[in-house]
């Protein structure tokens, strides 16, 4: 993966999508990289579709506007695939990481992804429920994104999940999220 990566996250309010973008940015700081993480602010309602963005670059990032041509699109909620076009603005070499229990091939067809675009799936909601008992797909998705982007190691992302969650949550929740990130990293599949 190139040293200039732009990510667009699609999620719903309350799924931890914005937190995921923050954790990913923080983890990407290592190696002297420049990072941005920012949500698209609207009326913040639980369940409403939202977007968040990352930019990661080896050079200073001066753009202060939404990511319009994402290299990587992460979809935290599979129901959004029926509600909006998550492929909007994507270049030919874009990569999709979709939270879904379906086969990557099925999702590829649903997205109508171009042959040069890559489609990955990970059953992030199931992993989250198994690891810490809540349908919060963000930690497994951060794990999957780390692997697919190739920007950071599993250890680096686990360190940041720990750091980010330790401010608010109990050890049990932190351990569950670490396990979930690890599994997301391990279980993401290409179609």
């Amino acid at each position: 993966m190139a040293e200039n990566v732009e990510v667009r996250w699609h999620g719903r309010g309350g799924q931890g999508t914005v937190t995921a973008a923050k954790v990913f940015a923080d983890a990407c700081l290592s190696g002297g990289r420049y990072v941005q993480a920012f949500p698209e602010y609207g009326p913040e309602r639980s369940g409403a579709p939202l977007r968040a963005y990352n930019r990661v670059s080896s050079k200073e990032i001066r753009l202060h506007c939404p990511v319009l041509k994402p290299n990587i699109v992460v979809v935290a909620d599979p129901t959004l695939l029926d509600a909006l076009d998550v492929t909007e603005g994507t270049p030919d070499n874009a990569v999709f990481i979709i939270n879904s229990s379906l086969e990557p091939k099925v999702i590829r067809e649903k997205l109508k992804a171009r042959p040069s675009q890559k489609v990955f799936t990970v059953d992030a909601t199931k992993i989250a429920v198994e690891c810490f008992g809540r349908a919060m797909p963000n930690s497994p998705l951060v794990g999957a994104l780390s692997k697919i982007s190739g920007l950071i190691s599993l250890d680096a992302i686990l360190d940041d999940v720990k750091k980010s969650f330790s401010k608010k949550f109990s050890q049990k929740v932190i351990d569950g999220n670490l396990e979930a990130a690890k599994r997301g990293y391990g279980e993401v599949r290409e179609g």
Partner: protein, 393 residues
């Protein structure tokens, strides 16, 4: 050693305020400033600063409390946005007229009606002539750096004026970026101890603040007030030199980006300047001599220096994220026009209003404007002097 972190604009400014550890903070929450003052209040609760927080019932009261605390002899801060700054308006003039170096980050946001919480410069533009110094910041790093430098500028013995530090609401205040924090001890040494001038609490030397001055002396007082303002640019540059020693980062009165040999150029404040610079580079790669000027010290406005930096261009567009209704041009345009007026040979000048109420400013907007400037240079004709961009008409 600098610490490299990924933080929001609000978080970074709150960190700067923590490192400076002021005596008093009187603030009232308003989006998108809330999260900055909430973080600072957290530092107070956790004992990380010795600041006394005064919780007030409005921004009019917060500025009033700041004025009282500053006149009493303290180093004083507050922060606000939008309607909050508008509600302070009456007190802003009292803070500057009494020469009180209060430091106030303003997280720029649109004014109501209609109600809108997003990034827009209308709020700070309303305070432009209130006698406060204004420093504007492109990104999180600049917001942090400007906050630290603001104390040295405002508290300088030749100046003693309040300072506003502007950063764009949400675009900077709520976006995470990589920045470098300076060591606490370096910030503290750089800012130094607060020196009170005629403090009310010095009861052995009683003084009066805010007396009545009738027509016999009011004008002399106001004329005298223009003197410290005139000294601000030099102090800003001196402070920037010292700041470079602890940070390695250079600051001026404005940033001139690829401007020396430019034929066309943009003038633009804050976060949109960053987006524009990427587009300037694209035009340069195509062989078009484009440049950019980003004001930093916006009040007092360095008219002579800005005029000198722009006079050789052939066409310039000033982009304003605030409108001036009534057929007038945007506020920055008016200042740039005044800067260039003394020159017989000067660039064509046009004005675009963009990004009101958080409307996205995209690279394509900058490209359209630069194309238009190139066309003006080619034909020698201006079609429209003032226009709204990125809008449905």
């Amino acid at each position: 050693m600098a610490r490299i972190v990924a933080v929001t604009g609000n978080e970074a400014v709150a960190e700067a305020l923590k490192q400076i550890n002021p005596d008093v903070c009187a603030a009232y929450p308003i989006t998108p400033q809330t999260d900055m003052m909430q973080r600072f209040a957290g530092f107070v609760s956790d004992g990380k600063v010795k600041t006394e927080i005064i919780l007030v019932e409005s921004e009019h009261s917060s500025m009033s409390a700041c004025i009282g605390a500053s006149a009493a002899g303290g180093r004083v801060i507050t922060a606000t946005s939008s309607q909050g700054l508008a509600l302070m308006w009456e007190m802003l003039f009292i803070a500057s007229g009494l020469r009180l170096p209060i430091i106030m980050p303003v997280v720029n946001r649109a004014l109501s009606a209609p109600l809108n919480i997003h990034g827009d410069h209308s709020d700070a533009m309303g305070a432009r002539d209130a006698g406060w110094i204004q420093l504007w910041s492109e990104n999180t790093q600049e917001a942090y750096d400007n906050t630290i430098q603001a104390f040295r500028i405002g508290e300088h013995m030749d100046i003693r004026l309040p300072v506003i530090i502007c950063l764009d609401g949400f675009i900077i205040s709520h976006s995470i970026e990589r920045i470098e924090y300076i060591e606490d001890s370096d910030v503290r040494n750089f800012v130094g101890d607060f020196k009170a001038v005629n403090p009310l609490l010095d009861i052995r030397h009683p003084v009066s603040y805010g007396p009545l001055i009738l027509p016999d002396y009011y004008m002399e007082f106001m004329r005298a007030h223009a003197e410290p303002m005139a000294k601000v640019p030099k102090v800003v540059l001196d402070v920037a030199k010292d700041f470079e020693k602890i940070s390695g980062r250079k600051y001026g009165l404005f940033e001139a980006y690829r401007l020396d040999d430019a034929e066309i150029g943009l003038v633009i404040l804050n976060s949109a300047a960053g987006t524009s610079k990427d587009v300037i580079d694209e035009f340069r790669n195509k062989g078009i001599k484009a440049g950019l000027l980003k004001p930093r010290l916006y009040r007092p406005f360095p008219y002579a220096e800005v005029g000198e930096a722009l006079k050789h261009l052939k066409a310039v567009c000033v982009l304003d994220r605030a409108d001036a209704f009534g057929g007038s041009f945007g506020p920055v345009f008016i200042d740039i026009a005044a800067s260039l007026y003394p020159y017989k040979e000067r660039p064509f000048l046009i004005n675009k209003i963009y990004g009101l109420g958080g409307r996205d400013y995209l690279p394509e907007h900058a490209a359209l404007v630069l194309d238009e400037l190139a066309e003006i240079v080619k034909t020698g004709k201006v079609k429209t002097f003032k226009e709204y961009i990125g809008v449905r008409e």
